[in-house]
């Protein structure tokens, strides 16, 4: 009887070695599960930001021809996206060499004077600065658009311009 019980350290003690791979397996499973869940969540959110930015661009684009500021304003008012902060507007076709998403210069509907309206949406857009942008997910979209303007001779002309949409969301660290 004693021979048979050699090394026997009790009914629980005998099963102790099997607990090591068991706990290790559970640890691997839950780590991978958490990783997968987080990755899935992040990617889904990222797609939603992209889709929302495209929706903003589609709303502002209208029929791809902006003839004056009131029309642009009504297109701007039709945007129903609330999930993102954004600034969007019409900029010159050729950007300056140092242009980034933080300093896009939007066009005005007339000569640079106090009365001129800027083609920017919303009217008082939230600021986006390089400082503090590390915790923001920024999405930008650019589409060509036709903009009616008056040239130096006073003739109405339609020029190609860029519809720039910069959208962002503060992400949890």
């Amino acid at each position: 009887m004693l021979e048979k019980q050699k090394g026997f350290i009790g009914p629980i003690g005998d099963d102790l070695p099997s607990l090591i791979p068991l706990l290790f397996g559970l640890m691997i499973f839950f780590s991978t599960f958490t990783l997968t869940f987080n990755s899935f969540d992040q990617k889904t959110a990222s797609f939603q930001y992209d889709l929302d930015a495209l929706k903003i661009a589609a709303s502002l684009r209208g029929n791809n021809y902006v003839y004056d500021y009131p029309q642009f304003k009504s297109l701007c008012d039709s945007i129903g996206v609330q999930s993102l902060s954004f600034r969007a507007g019409i900029a010159a076709l050729s950007p300056s060499a140092d242009e980034t998403v933080f300093n896009v210069e939007f066009l005005k509907d007339g000569p640079n004077s106090a009365g001129a309206n800027t083609y920017v949406c919303p009217e008082n857009p939230p600021e986006l600065k390089l400082e503090g942008s590390q915790n923001k997910k920024i999405v930008s979209k650019v589409l060509p658009i036709a903009l009616q303007q008056k040239n130096s001779s006073g003739t109405s002309i339609i020029v190609p311009a860029r519809l720039v949409v910069i959208a962002w969301k503060v992400i949890q660290q």
Partner: protein, 227 residues
């Protein structure tokens, strides 16, 4: 009775094996999830870009006096109207061709670094005894790869493919293309056989910048756009 501990260890090792398999599956899923959605979103953006580019191009103005600048022209017209007028003269684009090329280059400039494209007008009415229509304007933009820093890597060419079968090589060598196409009614020169009104296909196809094979370029019959 004495084997009980070993049985428990074996069971737990099997459990570990199953868990490892499951974890590998989850890991692969996490890494691959979204690539198709991401591609679809990119494709949607590019298609939107192509259709916007096309509409902007045709809506934009051209000075009536082709020597004037649009910024101080006294008279202007829609580019599309000028193209139709030019084509109706002699069945080719001559006075408006360069303006059109510059406009396309400017409108496509936001994505020009990463995308190549073709833009063409195809008259669907066969001229004379021909069985197929003809391309009367065909612009190809390719990229110089690798591109030395500080140089212009966009290369523009006018091409004259014989017919649509000449584009087969091009379409086979490309992936991830986005396209916008529209049909327009043009007026042909009055002495053209086959009537005066004709349907013209205007098409813009773009793709991620890539090197095209010599056989593809030969089929397109291209010559560089004069500087």
């Amino acid at each position: 009775m004495g084997m009980k501990g070993q049985a428990a260890v074996t069971d737990s090792l099997y459990f570990l094996l199953i868990i490892t398999g499951l974890s590998v599956f989850l890991f692969v899923f996490a890494n691959s999830y979204g690539s198709t959605v991401s591609q679809s979103l990119q494709r949607k953006y590019e298609t939107d870009f192509a259709s916007s580019a096309m509409e902007t191009l045709f809506n934009q103005s051209i000075p009536r006096d082709t020597n004037a600048k649009i910024s101080d022209a006294m008279e202007s017209d829609y580019l599309l109207a000028a193209l139709k007028e030019d084509y109706a003269d002699n069945g080719i684009l001559d006075s408006t061709r360069d303006y059109l090329t510059k406009s396309i280059g400017a409108i496509m400039s936001p994505i020009s670094d990463s995308r190549d494209y073709i833009f063409y007008f195809y008259d669907t009415t066969p001229p004379g005894n021909s069985q197929t229509g003809s391309f009367f304007y065909f612009l190809l933009k390719t990229s110089v790869i690798p591109c030395p820093q500080g140089t212009n890597c966009a290369k523009f060419s006018y091409c004259a493919p014989a017919d649509f079968s000449s584009l087969q090589g091009l379409s086979l060598s490309l992936s991830g293309t986005s396209q916008s196409e529209t049909r327009l009614i043009f007026v042909r020169p009055s002495d053209s056989p086959g009537g005066s009104a004709t349907t013209v296909r205007a098409s813009l196809i773009m793709w991620p910048a890539t090197v095209l094979g010599q056989n593809v370029l030969a089929a397109l019959n291209c010559a560089p756009v004069p500087a």
